[in-house]
Symmetry: C2
Subunit: 227 residues, 2 copies
């Protein structure tokens, strides 16, 4: 065992280890070891036996497959304070299904699968607590995806409005929808409900006014800088 | 028990139930019941006892808290074929920490927590298989977030370039970076590494050419329609 004390707190703050008691975490660390990789160095090859999963202390690891034509298909890039290959351990697979290579100089903690599984299965409560943390994180990530998608969609709608402005010298600028909203949404690759929701939101904020096919821009300055 | 047979396959395809044998799923369904909500109808209030978690067969459920000023804070919106409150069950909490209300007419399956926990804890292998599925989904969602963020960032960089073009009548259009790249990235709310990565990607695709502070647009048409 290397001296892993400095990594104790780091590990404890990760969702896979939060539920561990101090004693259990010490027990687990006793069978961990540090792995240092140079840039471009391989960690394992597809099909290699999988006795450990990894926690990235510092660095960046590329997980990928190589197809018959020799082309790489990147599955995931794992960064600081993230783990990988733990799903393989949980599902009881004995071999890595991908290749792993360092994108830059990296330091990893290799955690023995048997020891981890041993800690988790000793008390059913431990396994449930793990499921709780995984579920919570999953819900948080789904939320984040929704926020990002909406931000993306809002950006597109705002750009569509700005590009569609017809100069109306005597009055406020307007955008005339020449095709049904449903088709506009489809052209912007967003759901019709999302398109309507964003338009209504902009109207609620008094940035635009909607009347049938005619959208009046009430506050062009705010529309131009809308996020 | 209502007649829940039609929901058998639907449930089986959800990650919380995939690992269940037919017999176990039947056993679980025997204690489930259907819940139909009208639009705006409440399912539960914050602090209510939590004997069940829910699978949304059809509809949309808003989870929210109300603060002291009476303002709503939406925590999450749960849609078709998603579950909610299972993290509460896993962590052994006995009360719902939020309010739940239907955003439109919805049909839910109420799943008894004790029965589900019973199925999961009977065999440690079952709990590990659940952890495997949750981990896999978590990695998939993290990937999705990275893709969306990059798409968002790419969109901003492309817009920044288009807006920054100086007409260069005799030759190709150019963009001159008047401030360091680091500051441009910060103004676009993206990481400097992401900004560089996107510029290099555009250069690799022969859409732009970078020389110091001067970016030449080689293919304006493709830049305008770049996603």
């Amino acid at each position: 065992m290397d001296n892993l004390t400095p990594y104790y707190r780091l590990l404890k703050s990760h969702h896979l280890f939060t539920g561990f008691s101090d004693k259990e975490l010490q027990h687990l660390l006793a069978e961990c070891h540090l792995k240092k990789l140079a840039r471009d160095e391989w960690l394992f090859h597809q099909g290699d036996p999988a006795p450990a999963f990894y926690f990235v202390i510092d660095g960046s690891i590329k997980l990928f497959r190589t197809n018959r034509d020799g082309n790489e298909k990147i599955i995931e890039v794992i960064n600081n304070h993230e783990t990988f290959a733990e799903a393989i351990m949980f599902s009881g697979q004995h071999n890595y299904p991908v290749n792993a290579q360092a994108l830059k100089a990296s330091t990893l903690l290799a955690i023995a699968c048997t020891r981890y599984i041993d800690c988790i299965t000793r008390h059913p409560q431990q396994a449930l607590a793990l499921a709780a943390r995984l579920s919570q994180r999953l819900h948080a990530k789904i939320n984040e995806i929704e926020t990002l998608s909406l931000k993306n969609a809002t950006h597109r709608v705002v750009r569509f409005l700005i590009n569609g402005i017809t100069d109306n010298l005597s009055r406020e600028p307007v955008v005339e929808l020449e095709i049904p909203k449903r088709l506009v949404a489809s052209r912007l690759s967003i759901q019709p409900e999302t398109f309507s929701r964003i338009l209504h939101h902009l109207a609620d904020e008094k940035i635009i006014h909607i009347k049938g096919k005619l959208i009046t821009i009430l506050d062009l300055e705010r529309l131009l800088h809308y996020e």
